[in-house]
Amino acid sequence: MAKPRELKRRIRSVQNTKKITKTMELVSTSKLKRAQDRVVGARPYAQALAEVIAQLYSPELAERFPLLRQPGQTGRGKGVRRAALLLITSNRGLCGAFNANLIREARRRLEELEKQDAHTELHLVGKKGISYFKFTKRNIASQRVDIGDRPTLDHAAELAKPLMERFSNGDLDAVDVVFAKFNSAVSTPPTTLRILPVTPPEKRRSGGREAKAAVNYILKPSAEEILEQLLPLYVQNQFYRALVETAAAEHGARRTAMKNATDAGSDMLTILQRTFNRARQAQITQELAEIVGGAEALKG
């Protein structure tokens, strides 16, 4: 049986760890709330942009915009030849399988692209993804760790700009982003989204909306120029959405992981406390027996 003093030490250590995980859980909960608000806050903008682009979009116009160019339409051979994959991970760990899942999804996508004979370059956001791909000695095209809990539209613009330019020049045939889609705090599946070429958003189908789509707008300066301005904004916003959703998902994952850790700590404490009590009781019983035995011997 373990010595009571050792058990006491372990109990204290588990108690301290539990305090830390409990605090991290609380911190993540409040950060999650704020990140969630940002996800929800970004929705009307994305929706408005998508609606307008859907309204203005027509296949004839599409050919004039490099951002809408589908691979294989340019006559330089079919399919995707050069692709870029952007993986968004968190900077910090202790969030369960969150980063591992994202990395797995990215690797799956890389394999898929390479099977299509596409030369794929890797762009990384977040320390966790970077350290993994450094470990596997893969070539990394770009990396950054300065986007934290609060991604801004400027961050998204910085990411989007070089990729959009190179796509427009024809240096890239496709740009994919792997991020954690934020369905809810507990459902954040790693997701791959093809950001370039832009897939024109579909028009809403519900009756009232369709009537709206048929309105003849006075367009200034022209549908073409409006589209030209809005498409980059739309792409930027997709990057922004990926960043914001991943940030929110990270906090959700950390909250769950820390809650599990705290619960496991509580279970462990109960067992340890019980073992400790038993050991203490055994010691007392033994001492009593010795005293009684000794007294008996003296009487003898």
Binding site: Y45, Y217, I218, K220, P221, I226, Q229, Y240
Partner: protein, 87 residues
Amino acid sequence: MRVSVISAERAVFEGEAEAVVAPAYDGLVGILPRHAPFMTLLGQGVVKITNTSLGGETIRLQVAGGFLQVAYNVVRIVARSAAPVAS
């Protein structure tokens, strides 16, 4: 008419108004109720919203980039960035 101002990060303003002046790409445009369906690019500048629900008070928002859309008495200003002007 209904007016909403949406920035990339959140919905900045939502409410009734009787006049809107916005900086389009080539100059200011004024929108009154029952304006024809209209869509234009935004430049940089201050959007002025004359608000009935707040007793005729004028709301000023600094906006940059994006577009303005009018249809069915609903004005939608979707800007890359939008923030209240400090009065």
